[in-house]
Symmetry: C2
Subunit: 604 residues, 2 copies
C-alpha cells in the first residue's frame, strides 16, 4: 500500500499521508468542514459523503446518521481515516471560516482565541435594571466569558458614551475589553520566536490570518554569553543578573513589537493576544523565573506547562488585558520552540516516521509521527555557529556558505553577498569537510591525509600554520595561510564532535524506537541553519541519516510558524498542548551506552 | 406544631428552628458531621442515626445504606429535616474540624479556602526529572490547584534552599505560595466591613477561627460627602475624584490592616486571604469602578458578581498573591454588606419568615426565609444619623440615646458617656418622638398638640424658637430654648418621612409576599444603630412592624460577621453566592402604589 492517498474533496484533488483523518486531510488543504467540538466525535457536524465505496461506518456514524444516510455514504470526517483513494462531497458550511497558509505548507483554518463581537444593547430602565456586565454577557452566552476587573472599571462610561453600541472582545474564556462602537474589523496578534541568538516577531491580522509585518533582531541578552549555559551561569554568579536578563529579553520583544506595529500602522491596544515560542531557558528568563536548576544536573525546569501569562508579563506592548500563549517545553533542553516546531511541521498529525532536527549549540532531536514521538537534546557546541572555528563567522556577508570540488579537482566557493571570502559559516564548514572527505583530503577518521595522497589540484592548499595542518580555502592577497580563509585540523575535530553528538542522539532514539535509518521517511531541518545546509554534505559527514538528499527538507523557522498557528487557531494551540503528553523525553546524559554509541558515530 | 424542635446530638441538647436540615442544625451548634460535598447529597458521608422514631428514609438514604442500617435508624443528615424532637447519634469524624462562633450566634465549622500543607519532597535526579512545579503538585493532587506565575518565579530556589521541605499554600484552586520549611501553623485572613461612614477590620487566625484583633475608623472618603449619593456626585463633577475616592478607601483599609496586624504581631505576608463587605457604591469606588450609573436612574451596577479580585486591588497589605472575596450585591442599593448580613444572620437557612432591616441614609430591607427572600431599598435620609435634625449629633459622648417619660410625667434622659447632654442621636430621636407620642404631646399626624393639651409636668417644655414650635429635652443653664437641646416640629417631620420610607418598604414587601405583620416571626436590626434603638419605641413610631418588642433583635455588625464567615468557611461563602440567585429585588422608585402606601404609613 502506498504511503499517500489521493482524495477529491468537492472535485478538488489533494494528496495526503495515509491514515490521517479526512477532517485533518481537508483542513491541511484549506478545505473547511464544519465542526464545533474540534474533532472529538461529539458535535457530529463534520458531515461528509463518499460518492462511492464508503468505508464501514463506525459506531459514531451509526449514531449520527440514519440507515439511509449510512447507505448513501455519509460519514463523520473526524473519525474516518484516509485509507484508500476516495471521491468525497463536503456540504457547504453553516459558517464560513477563512484559512491561512503557515508552517510547513500547512493550511490553518482561522479560529483565533480572540473573538470580537459588535453588540447593539437595549438601554436599562427602572423595569430592566440588569447590570452593565450582565447586559453584555447576555449577548455572549455562547462564549460564556468571565470578565476582567479592568473591563468593569470603565464599562459604565463606555456603554453610555457609545449609546450601548459596543464591541465585546473575548479571549478564550475572558471578556478582556468592551470598546465603543463597531471595532470588529481590527484584531491583531503578535507571534514571537525568542531565540538565544535571534528573535523574530510577526504581526498578524487575526481577521484574515495575514502576516502584516515581520522583523528580527539579535537577542539583547547577547552580552551575557552566546549560549543558554552562559546566561544561566550569569544568574548564578550575580543575583542581579536574572532581572537584567529578563529586562533585556523584554526590551528585545518590545523593540521588535514597536517595529512591526509601526510597519503595520497598528496601535498596541489592537493587539489582543501574543504567542511566544522559545527554549526553556529563554522562557524562564523572559518571565523572571529562576533558571538555575535548568543549568545544573539533573536539569530541572520550574514547570512544563506555564500558568496564565499576560502580554505585560513579557514586556510586550499590547492591549493591557492581552494574554500570552507561551509554548510548553518537553524538558530542560527540548523547549517550547520545539513544541512549536513540531506543531508547524505537522509531526503530531503525519503518520510517517520522521526525524526533526533543530541544529544549534544545543541540538534538539525528535523522532516519530502521529502515534508516538521521542525527543532528546544533544550538546553540539558552537561549531555550527562558527564560534569555535578558526576562520568561523556568522552567516553574514563574506561568509563562505557552500564549498564544492569539481571532478577535475577545482575548488568552488559560494560566498554570502558575493563578496571577497572573509570566513566560514556553519553550512560552509559542513560543505568544506564533506567535500574534502569526498576528495580524499580528509580520511574517515577525520585526519588530513598525507600531502602525497592529495590530488595535484588541491595539494598546494594543504599547509601548516605553526604546528597545525590547515587547508586553505581562499588565499589572501599575500598568500600567507594565516591571513587566508582556511580549515584547520582542530576545526575538523570540532565539527566531528558536534555532528557526532547529534548523530548519537538520533541513533539512540532510533534504537529506543526499535527502528533503523531505513524507517525514517523524512528528515526535517528546523531553523535558518537548516535552510542553508547542503543535504548531500550533511549526509556525507553523517550529521543526518542517509535517507537520500531529497528526503532532507529545510523546514525554516518552524518555531515562529508554530507561534503564528497558536494565534490563528485554538485547535492547533490545543494540539500543541496535547503534544506535551505525547512526547517521551529521552535523557542522554546518564545513559551507560552513550559513549559506545558516540565512538561508533565518530568517523566520517 | 411548634416553630422549634428539641434535638439531642450525642446527648447534647439543642433547640433549632423547625424544618432545618439536621446537618445545618448540628453545624449551627458547633457539632461537626462529616461531609465533603457540602450538603448536596452526593458524598454520603453525613451519617447520623436516630436512636428512636427515625423518619421515613429518602431515596438517597436507600442508596446510601443497607436495609439493616435503615432499620437501625441511619439517615443522611443533609437530607433529613428537623420536623420533631429527636435523639440522634453522630459518629466520630474521620477528620476533626474546628468550629468558631461568628454572626448572630452562629457556629461555623472551619473550612477556610486557604489550605497550608507541609511537604517533604523527594529530590530530582537524572532518572526523575519531574519539574519543580509538578513535583509539588503531585502532593496536592486532591486539591488540584493551578499555579500563579509568581510562585514559579522563585520555586526553584525555594525548594533547593529548603532541601525540598516546604509548605504549599493553596487558596481555592490556586497555588499561591510555596514557603521554606513548615509554616503550616501560620494562616491569617483580614475581614472588612467597608461602610460609607465607618470601616471595621478584623484579623482572623484561620487555623482556629479566632479574631486576633479588631479595629474601626471613619472612612477617609468623608470629606467627599456623608452619603453615597454625595460621593457618586463628586465623581460626576470632577474626573479625578474617582481616583481620589479609590485611594482614600484603600488608605482606610490599609491603615486599619496595619493596626490589626501590629496588634496581632502578624506580618502582612501571612495574610493569605481578604474578605470585604460593603454597599455597591463603596465596592465600586474601592475597586476603581465608575460609579456614575449607580447614582442616576435607572440605578445600574457594573456587575452583581465581581471578577477575581486580589488583596492588592483593594490596597490591603497582605501576601502578594492573596485573593479578596468581595461580597456580591443584589442591586444598586442592596449591596454586598446586606448579602454578608443575611449570611451572618442565617436568613438563608432559617425557614421562618423574618424581616431584616439595616437602617441608614439608605435603608435596606429584606423579607423572607430559607425558601424565598425579597429585598428592597428605602431612601430614609440622614435623620437617623442626626444630620438633618436641629440638635442632631452622632452617637458620641453627650448624645441623648434614650428618652422616657414616666407615668407621672417626668422626662428621663440617658446620655452617652454620662455627661451633660449636648444633642440627640438617632436612637434618642426615635425614643423622644415615641415618648412624646405616647404622652400625647405629638398627635398621630405628627404635629405637636396645642399647649393646653400637654400634661402639666411637660407643658413648660413646649415653646417656640422663632416661628417654630419646639420641645425642650434639656434646658441650657440660661434656659434659652435656642441654646438648649430640643426637638423641633421640623425634626419630627424629618423622622416621620424617614420612618415612613422604611415602613412603606417593608409594607410593600409584605404585600408582594401576600403576608401581613402577623406572619413576621422576627425583626433583625442590623448595624450599630439597631443595637441602640429601643424596640418599643421603634414599634411605637411604626418604624418596624408590631411583632412585640421581644421579637425585635439587634443583630450587630452582621456585614463584618458575614465577611469573617466567608474567610472561615467556603461552605458559607458559597451560601452567600447562592443568595444572589435566591433574593428577588423589588424596585420601589417606579411603583405606582408607592405614594398611596407612603401616605398610609405616614402617621404615628
Amino acid at each position: 500500500m502506498s504511503q499517500r492517498v489521493d482524495l477529491r474533496f468537492n472535485d478538488r484533488p489533494v494528496r495526503v499521508p495515509l491514515g490521517v483523518t479526512l477532517f485533518d486531510a481537508a483542513s491541511w488543504n484549506g478545505i473547511a468542514i464544519d465542526s464545533t467540538c474540534g474533532g472529538h466525535g461529539t458535535c457530529k457536524k463534520c458531515r461528509i459523503r463518499f460518492k462511492a465505496d464508503a468505508p464501514l461506518p463506525t459506531s459514531l456514524d451509526l449514531r449520527a446518521y440514519t440507515a439511509q444516510e449510512i447507505k448513501d455514504g455519509w460519514r463523520l470526517a473526524c473519525r474516518t481515516p484516509a485509507t484508500t483513494d476516495a471521491d468525497i462531497e463536503v456540504p457547504p458550511l453553516t459558517t464560513r471560516p477563512k484559512a491561512a497558509t503557515v508552517g510547513v505548507g500547512r493550511q490553518v483554518i482561522l479560529r483565533p482565541a480572540v473573538i470580537k463581537r459588535y453588540l447593539e444593547l437595549s438601554e436599562p430602565t427602572l423595569t430592566d435594571q440588569v447590570t452593565d456586565l450582565e447586559r453584555v454577557l447576555a449577548e455572549l452566552a455562547d462564549l460564556n466569558p468571565a470578565p476582567d476587573l479592568a473591563v468593569l472599571r470603565t464599562l459604565g462610561g463606555t456603554l453610555r458614551r457609545a449609546d450601548f453600541k459596543v464591541t465585546a472582545v473575548v479571549a478564550d474564556e475572558t471578556l478582556i475589553a468592551v470598546e465603543e462602537g463597531d471595532t470588529s474589523g481590527r484584531v491583531y496578534g503578535l507571534a514571537f520566536d525568542l531565540g538565544t541568538t535571534t528573535v523574530v516577531a510577526a504581526l498578524l491580522d487575526l481577521t484574515t490570518g495575514t502576516p502584516v509585518a515581520v522583523e528580527s533582531m539579535l537577542n539583547k541578552q547577547q552580552p551575557f554569553g552566546a549560549d543558554v549555559i552562559a546566561r544561566i551561569s550569569a544568574t548564578m554568579l550575580d543575583p542581579a543578573a536574572g532581572d537584567k536578563l529578563r529586562q533585556l529579553a523584554q526590551d528585545t520583544l518590545a523593540e521588535l513589537s514597536h517595529a512591526v506595529l509601526k510597519a503595520g500602522g497598528v496601535p498596541p491596544e489592537e493587539v489582543y493576544e501574543v504567542a511566544l515560542a522559545g527554549n526553556a531557558t529563554m522562557v524562564h528568563l523572559v518571565l523572571g523565573i529562576d533558571p538555575e536548576p535548568l543549568g545544573v544536573a539533573p536539569f530541572i525546569m520550574a514547570a512544563r506547562l506555564l500558568p496564565e501569562v499576560r502580554a505585560g508579563d513579557l514586556g510586550v506592548p499590547a492591549h493591557p488585558q492581552a494574554r500570552a500563549v507561551v509554548f510548553p517545553a518537553f524538558g530542560a533542553y527540548v523547549g517550547g520552540d520545539i513544541t512549536a516546531g513540531l506543531l508547524a511541521s505537522g509531526m503530531d498529525r503525519d503518520p510517517r516516521v520522521r526525524l526533526f532536527i533543530d541544529i544549534g549549540t544545543n541540538c534538539e532531536i525528535v523522532l516519530g509521527g502521529r502515534d508516538w514521538l521521542l525527543a532528546t537534546a544533544a550538546p553540539a557546541g558552537p561549531a555550527f555557529e562558527g564560534a569555535s572555528i578558526r576562520c568561523g563567522m556568522r552567516a553574514a556577508d563574506g561568509a563562505i556558505e557552500a564549498v564544492t570540488i569539481t571532478e577535475d579537482g577545482e575548488l568552488k566557493l559560494t560566498v554570502i553577498g558575493d563578496t571577497e571570502p572573509a570566513g566560514l559559516c556553519g553550512s560552509g564548514l559542513v560543505d568544506a569537510v564533506a567535500a574534502l572527505v569526498e576528495a580524499g583530503v580528509i580520511d574517515s577518521s577525520g585526519r588530513f591525509v598525507r600531502d602525497a595522497d592529495v590530488a595535484p589540484g588541491l595539494a598546494g592548499r594543504l599547509t601548516m600554520i605553526g604546528k597545525e595542518r590547515v587547508f586553505v580555502l581562499h588565499w589572501s592577497a599575500d598568500r600567507d595561510p594565516a591571513s587566508s580563509v582556511y580549515l584547520s585540523q582542530r576545526d575538523i575535530r570540532e565539527l566531528q564532535f558536534a555532528k557526532t553528538a547529534i548523530s548519537t542522539g538520533w541513533q539512540i532514539l532510533l534504537e529506543e524506537a526499535g527502528l533503523t535509518t531505513e524507517d525514517v521517511k523524512q528528515v526535517l531541518l528546523a531553523g535558518s541553519f537548516g535552510s542553508y545546509l547542503s543535504a548531500k554534505s550533511a549526509i556525507r559527514i553523517g550529521l543526518v541519516p542517509d535517507v537520500g538528499p531529497r528526503r532532507i527538507v529545510a523546514a525554516g523557522n518552524v518555531a515562529g510558524e508554530g507561534a503564528k498557528m497558536a494565534l490563528l487557531s485554538v485547535r492547533d494551540r490545543a494540539a500543541a498542548l496535547a503534544l506535551l503528553e505525547e512526547v517521551r523525553y529521552v535523557e542522554l546524559s546518564d545513559r551507560p551506552d552513550f559513549n559506545d554509541r558516540f565512538i561508533d558515530q565518530l568517523g566520517f
